[in-house]
């Protein structure tokens, strides 16, 4: 529900900006305030070398980190959201979409591709938070659905990297039904005995948590990620007290039994390959 505020944060730390950062500029960790060269920071998978803070990154970076030699085939990249409700709040939804597409160079909040990770074939769907807070609308649902079709056809395992503020309000009930759509479609993957690995990254909340993000054969998270159904602000309002320290972090969610493991981004590719090998042999 709190994606609105976060859009701005998403924009200020947009991956595009980072890419355009000239050599020699510095990255300041928002957590420990340590300053390090941007290049070194990027080489360290955008993880702070001092405190291990995992910077929010997008599909561009995840594909580069995971796919062997950064080689992958993206599919359905041109899908664009319709505006079935002709939704207007302070701005027309169609204008919001056009602006966001121009600003982010993305067509929606998820990209889907297949390629190899450590030699293992896999389909990866990766969400982009900078696209309207990584909100889930018709395109996110349809691209996941078609990615599962590719898995079924090629007999590839599936990985979805979630990073989302939840539903896309401008698509209202259509957005809600993407929860049903993706969950229903995942049953077909299970029937075909193809593994589904869900990677929850900072933040994964709302309708995404309450559908595909929590339905992995393995639910994995990055350290420190916010993982929630109701966001911390809403929970705080509900209980009328301050929240305990560490509430709704990946570590908290693991302790309560809803994650299989937490993987540091530096080890993500190696561990993912190992896991894929478990399923294969």
């Amino acid at each position: 529900m709190s994606w609105f505020k976060r859009i701005k944060e998403g924009i200020t730390t947009s991956t595009k900006e980072k890419k355009e950062t000239p050599e020699g500029l510095w990255y300041k960790c928002p957590s420990c305030k340590n300053i390090q060269p941007s290049k070194e920071h990027a080489d360290n998978y955008y993880v702070c070398q001092k405190c291990s803070y995992h910077e929010r990154i997008g599909s561009h970076e995840y594909f580069e980190i995971l796919f062997d030699n950064n080689e992958f085939t993206e599919f359905n990249s041109k899908l664009i959201s319709g505006d079935p409700l002709h939704f207007t709040d302070t701005k027309k939804y169609t204008d919001r979409l056009t602006d966001t597409i121009r600003k982010t160079q993305l067509n929606d909040a998820i990209r889907t591709a297949y390629g190899k990770v450590g030699g293992h074939d896999i389909v990866i769907c990766c969400m982009d938070f900078e696209f309207i807070g990584g909100s889930m609308g018709s395109v996110v649902g349809e691209k996941i659905s078609r990615a599962i079709d590719v898995c079924l056809e090629k007999k590839f395992p599936l990985m979805i990297i979630s990073k989302s503020g939840g539903a896309r309000m401008m698509e209202a009930a259509f957005s809600l039904m993407q929860m049903a759509k993706t969950s229903a479609k995942l049953t077909l993957l299970a029937e075909a005995k193809l593994p589904y690995i869900s990677l929850l990254t900072d933040p994964t909340t709302g309708g995404v948590t309450a559908s595909y993000a929590m339905l992995g054969d393995l639910n994995i998270a990055e350290p420190g990620s916010l993982i929630a159904f109701a966001g911390p602000r809403v929970v705080k309002e509900t209980i009328g007290k301050d929240l305990p320290k560490g509430f709704q972090t990946a570590e908290f969610v693991l302790e309560h039994g809803f994650l299989d493991l937490i993987i540091h981004r530096n080890e993500l590719k190696a561990k993912l390959s190992q896991l894929l090998e478990f399923f294969e042999n």
Binding site: P84, A173, A184
Partner: protein, 318 residues
């Protein structure tokens, strides 16, 4: 006394009618003509009000404190054969979610629904119809029980949302709802869902994956309440009426968008103005829908259910 502003014109007429009846009782003046006139006026006014409801007025009706709740429907429809079953077999019994077997004309059915309370104490007891993860897990346990013994499932949806509390988060509210979406998609028995009041977001959808999803005439179903939508998109609560329109959350909107399968007509004045008639309408709807679903091959029924939800979404190939 009416609870809603737009019901007020009816109050005045009802007062007039009461007075005329009192005069009639005294027997001195013949007011039978007047009484008929007022009764006709009430009928006309009611028709006038209820045939032109705005989206926000329908939201208000869906929350009307006199509106029947899940247990009212279930008891009436099953002719009091309903036996409630409690607990999720893990943590506790969630009072905001109820379920159990009942019989409709010789057919055993598993009924499940969110439950609201009808006075201050009961509203708290029922947590205002906002289930915790245990509620969703109880619902799933009962659905699995129904599946095992090949009994159809009927759910009644009426919730302002899944409870956004601390313990709910600790015990995996998101996982509980996700699990239900997944498992309901492949449940081997027929599933019919009725939205009888509020259908708010994932909390509603968590018992809402059906072969047939029906909305009562004066209910709403969307990803967020108009109030919360207003506060997020317009940053105040004053645009709730605008938000209600924009969200296209009424039964007619949802049917037009093909996101629900049908609308169940309410008595003139809303479900609360004639609950018995409402229960009969829902019962006849069940008797109309269920035989066709029971006839289908379970495998095909599940396939069609999955296909239906997978076809939802509007996009262009760019």
């Amino acid at each position: 006394m009416s609870h809603l502003d737009f019901e007020k014109p009816l109050d005045e007429l009802k007062d007039q009618l009461e007075k005329a009846k009192q005069i009639a009782e005294k027997g001195k003046v013949d007011v039978s003509g007047l009484i008929m006139e007022i009764e006709k006026k009430i009928e006309d006014t009611r028709k006038n009000i209820f045939s032109n409801l705005t989206a926000w007025q329908k939201v208000q009706l869906s929350r009307h404190p006199d509106r029947p709740y899940s247990l009212d429907y279930i008891k009436a429809i099953t002719n009091n054969t309903f036996i409630e079953m409690f607990g999720d077999r893990n943590v506790k019994d969630d009072k905001a979610m109820i379920g159990g077997f009942g019989m409709v004309d010789g057919q055993t059915i598993m009924f499940i629904g969110q439950q609201k309370g009808n006075n201050t104490k009961m509203r708290q007891y029922r947590n205002f119809g906002m289930p915790n993860p245990e509620g969703y897990r109880k619902a799933l346990r009962l659905m699995k029980l129904a599946e095992k013994f090949n009994k159809p499932v009927i759910t009644f949806i009426d919730t302002p949302g899944a409870f956004p509390g601390l313990e709910a988060e600790e015990r995996g509210q998101g996982e509980a709802i996700a699990r239900n979406l997944y498992e309901m998609s492949i449940l081997k028995v027929p599933v019919i869902c009725f939205i009888i009041g509020e259908g708010a977001s994932g909390g509603a959808l968590g018992i809402g994956i059906g072969d047939k999803v029906m909305m009562l005439e004066n209910t709403w179903y969307s990803v967020i309440s108009p109030e919360s939508c207003s506060s997020i998109l317009w940053r105040n609560w004053d645009n709730k009426e605008k938000a209600a329109e924009a969200l296209k959350l009424t039964a007619t909107d949802m049917q037009d968008l093909k996101l629900v399968d049908g609308i169940v007509k309410e008595p003139l004045g809303g479900a609360h103005s004639n609950p018995d008639k409402m229960f009969q309408t829902v019962k006849s709807e069940i008797k109309k829908l269920l035989p066709k679903l029971l006839e289908m091959d379970p495998k095909i029924r599940v396939e069609k259910r999955i296909e239906k939800f997978c076809s939802m979404g509007v996009y262009t190939e760019g």
